[in-house]
Amino acid sequence: MNTLTDSALTAFQLITSFDAGLLAIAGRSLGVSATACLIACVLGIALGAFLGVSKFTGRGLVLTLLNTFLALPSVVVGLVIYLLLSRTGPLGFLGWLFQFKAMVLAQVVLVLPVAAALSRQLVEDAEAAHGEQWRSLGAGNAVRCILLAWNERFALLTVVVACFGRAISEVGAVMIVGGNIEGFTRVMTTAIALETSKGDLPMALALGIVLLAIVGCLNVVLAWFRQWQDRHQQTGQNGLRGWVA
């Protein structure tokens, strides 16, 4: 047997034995990324819907900035958040550095442009196709933002999953602002980096498998949900007295 198969076997044993250390890290990762994803998606989808419907001076500049932020390197985000939250930084008084909150903040900054840019495109397309019908009915910008975003809710779910994927797989920012402290701020990606550098390949591999499994499960749930939606679209049935179709 070689190192890879040895490591894979040990990793499998760690997973099947519900290793406490492994579960704690996985749980923390999920907690940080889910919280960040929730905050970023709420803000990002609202911002994207607003940008999709509104026309104002400087909109082009805002969109260019937003698209530029899509390619933000996570280590740069980590560095900026570190500087902001460090004791001498403008947000140092919060005392968030090397804590759960700092990691959430860093991931929100990373993921928010993704949520905003993708949802902006969805809502803008819907606005171009149907906006004038809703304007003729008296729907102003704010109402159209809500209606069109809500109407695109299934497509927005894909945006949410993409955001979660970006958040949970990110390593640079959480490493810098979280400090990778065992039992406190160590998450899957930072643990994988550390265990690999230490030579503890089974643990790193086990964490990698768990990470992949989480993202895989999310995609399975999304695919199932899409199928369910398609089935209901075809049959025309409606849940919750019509509001969720």
Binding site: E132, S136, L137, H232, Q233, Q234, R241, A245
Partner: protein, 240 residues
């Protein structure tokens, strides 16, 4: 008598294209006006301008202050029940100050009028084209409009659905027991429909009004030829 709607020397440029040029027209309450012309002639743009969906670049526009509704060729329905779609159409008219429950009650009546009570809880986005157009009509109807704009409402429908919509529109513009019919402004390629609905026909070509005549005169070849050679040629091309 003050017109319900009027345009004075109005021009409109959309994305670098001169969509309307020096358009002057006025529409009185109770008139049924048809806008006809080739594709891209500007009739839909004119309709949208009259509905306030476009802002003119030049000229004076006096829009109607009464309750109005517009039907599009392909109505957009939200992915929710038919009932919610109609109720939402009413709720969005905030001048009526209706709460959601009252909107739903009226929406049920409108659905019954267009024969869609059976699909009130069905996802509106899954309805057929004809049903969606009836639903759009219910959404317009429920607002009790005094002015109705129709943008080729039957263009994408099969003959039976077309007949259903025509009958419903006829019922909507001339409600039983009402002296003055609803003011109707519609764009259409269907000359039979124009003859049935319109009291006045406006021919639009390249963003200009080239003929504006009572329906009887418009379909009188000699009269039309005298007023507008282009409109006459268009009509000859359209008539079998």
């Amino acid at each position: 008598m003050k017109p319900l709607l009027s345009l004075q020397d109005v021009s409109l440029n959309l994305g670098g294209v001169q969509a309307l040029s020096h358009v002057t027209l006025s529409i009185q309450t109770g008139e049924q006006v048809a806008l006809i012309g080739a594709n891209g002639s500007g009739k839909s743009t004119l309709l949208r301008l009259l509905n306030g969906l476009h802002q003119s670049n030049q000229g004076h526009v006096q829009l109607a202050s009464c309750r109005q509704a517009m039907l599009f060729q392909r109505p957009h329905m939200l992915r929710t029940s038919s009932l919610n779609n109609v109720a939402l159409g009413l709720w969005l008219d905030r001048s009526l100050h209706l709460n959601w429950k009252a909107c739903k009650t009226r929406a049920l009546e409108a659905l019954s009028l267009v024969g869609l009570s059976g699909v009130k809880f069905q996802n509106a986005a899954t309805l057929s084209g004809g049903q969606q157009q009836r639903l759009a009509l219910a959404r317009a109807w429920v607002r009790a409009p005094q002015l109705l704009f129709l943008d080729e409402p039957t263009a994408s429908l099969d003959p039976p659905a077309k007949r259903e919509i025509e009958a419903l529109v006829h019922q909507l513009i001339k409600p039983d027991g009402q002296e003055t019919p609803i003011t109707l402004v519609f764009a259409s390629h269907n000359l039979g429909q124009v003859k049935r609905w319109a009291s006045r026909v406006i021919y639009v070509e390249q963003g200009r009004i080239l003929a504006d005549l009572p329906t009887a005169d418009f379909f009188n070849a000699d009269c039309l030829k005298q007023h507008s050679q282009q409109a006459f040629l268009f009509l000859q091309g359209e008539t079998p």
